[in-house]
Symmetry: C2
Subunit: 346 residues, 2 copies
């Protein structure tokens, strides 16, 4: 470990230039592999740079270039399986292109989300990728990005109202219909539904999908068995207790995330309700927990890495291609397919 604290003054290209008797411009060009510099001096410059312990100053070059090479990302929480996978895939892709990801968590708070949007706006991120907080219904904290023409992509939890940004979402409507159909095919007519709040696009669409399919099958969703709330384990248990407090009990539960589905399985176990004989359960997201619990849970896979690839592709396009940015009014919305993973709870 050769640590020397003596030579700790930061060197700039000017220092390299002086040491070599050339101009700073030459050094800059040499370091950036500009073809206008001869092979010989390029080599001399690079060697001297290493010798002096030079490091590129990205603040200075960002200022000059008006590009930070940083992409902002706002997610509800990184601990959500879907988002963790998404982030990893997105990050790997962007790293290859020389971009860094600034990952921020809203913790599902609208206020935090607003603050983060402003911070990232001031930080001059080159683009912003967002999955909205649970109750975000006003999007004006993103207006700055729109106004300045800074690429803005929503994924997964996207605006429910018309907003001039790019959108890449899972096929939540389809997910709702798949789950509904599956339960109907299993012969269920009494279905309980634990959903997230309808302010959030994904739950809204899943709900619509489910309802449409139930209507077609002439099955009605009992009000007393429908919950629209934050999908925590605690809330799930409360709802489950309510559901099973009455005379009549449902034949199936559609849980709009796997945390809730897991809670349902545990609840059933505690109550001695047999799954899937007496109660069928279907979750959403294909969280690893869904496959570990007994019985393993049937759920809907949202393919987070496919979504990340699409986001990365669109992002890099917008970043590279001014034309893409200007003519982006058409084709601003993409839908990523979902698939059911059938396991032992249905």
């Amino acid at each position: 470990m050769k640590i020397d604290k003596n030579e700790n003054s930061e060197k700039s290209i000017v220092d390299i230039a002086k040491a070599l008797g050339v101009s700073a411009a030459t050094v800059s060009r040499a370091l950036n592999d500009n073809p206008r510099i001869s092979e010989a001096t390029r080599k001399r410059v690079k060697e001297k740079a290493i010798e002096l312990g030079y490091r590129h100053n990205s603040m200075a070059s960002s200022l000059r270039n008006k590009k930070s090479k940083i992409i902002g990302l706002i997610v509800p929480r990184i601990s959500m399986y879907f988002h963790a996978v998404f982030i990893t895939a997105l990050q790997n892709r962007l790293q290859d292109e020389g971009y860094s990801l600034m990952v921020c968590q809203s913790n599902d708070s609208v206020a935090v989300e607003q603050k983060l949007a402003n911070t990232l706006y001031s930080s001059r991120v080159d683009a912003l990728v967002v999955s909205l907080a649970l109750y975000t219904e006003d999007y004006s904290h993103f207006d700055g990005f729109i106004n300045r023409g800074i690429p803005l992509i929503f994924y997964d939890r996207v605006p429910t109202k018309d907003y001039p940004a790019h959108i890449i979402q899972g096929d939540d409507y389809r997910g709702g219909t798949i789950a509904g159909n599956h339960l109907i095919e299993m012969g269920c007519r009494k279905i309980a539904y634990i959903s997230g709040p309808l302010s959030c696009s994904i739950y809204k669409e899943r709900t619509e999908g489910l309802k449409d399919v139930l209507k077609k099958a002439k099955v009605t969703l009992a009000k007393k068995w429908c919950f629209y709330q934050e999908l925590t384990a605690e809330n799930a248990w409360n709802s489950l207790r309510q559901i099973f407090a009455g005379e009549e009990t449902p034949e199936a539960i559609f849980a709009s995330n796997d945390t809730t589905a897991v809670a349902a399985v545990e609840f059933a176990r505690e109550q001695g309700i047999k799954i899937p004989q007496e109660l069928k359960i279907i979750g959403y997201s294909n969280d690893p927990r869904a496959s570990i619990i007994s019985p393993p849970i049937t759920t809907i896979d949202q393919h987070p890495d496919e979504m990340a690839h699409r986001v990365a592709y669109k992002l890099l396009n917008l970043l590279k291609d001014k034309y893409a940015r200007e003519n982006a009014d058409t084709n601003r919305k993409e839908i990523v397919p979902v698939t059911m993973v059938r396991r032992m709870t249905t």
Copy 2:
């Protein structure tokens, strides 16, 4: 949604200054709440700033201040429960102090880790927080930070050799002894051990803790039942098959992470081995999956948010206090306690 693309030229403090007939210096001071500016002009300036749609340019101010207000973070993978919780806690704390976190994943690749360290070094992060990749044994890619006196903190997976950085680690040795003692107290003498590679501090220390305690109890760890490898589910299954292929079978398994412990429970279920009667299992990390599987797994909790608090505290100290940085040679290492969470597999 009032979107107007016309006024899209970026305004600077100079523009505000001109519009108000004052100097840029005054505007800068007013915006930064410098007390040398009168209340009246401060107000005028701030109003005009909003009117013109001004946004602070952090590149310019970073350049001038030589501070990026960005903290770099390198973790193996954010999808690991321990790290996800850690990141969230750290981020929340740093956000309050006006710092942003640049979260990067090494994917447990030494090469990626090196690249990230260099990128973050050039990006001029104000400090770097690192949990090392599985096989990192050379730390020279962090030398730049040391040389420049940039705060560098390792947490969880820390250097095993002496390295002049700050270290905040879990009490892995203790974790190893706790697990070992617990199994011995349960009457186990034939113990299988599935660990991560010993290049990684946490596994090294857990192993030492376990071995010391077994030696004291005069229990020997059979070579054929010891594995030091990347702790994936696949590897776990392979090891488990090997362990149970022979005549003799162990009474207990100490799995050095919960992914492996989960695999062990599933393996036992598949093989019809009764837990905990015929086989006891103890894991490490208190991953949510450990409590969901049946039977729920006894495991060691590392208290990731306590660790995050300690890291944040030390970090902010180093960042604020030049003195702390210079006199940091003493007191460079902290140990965060661990606790056992007893469940149904022991």
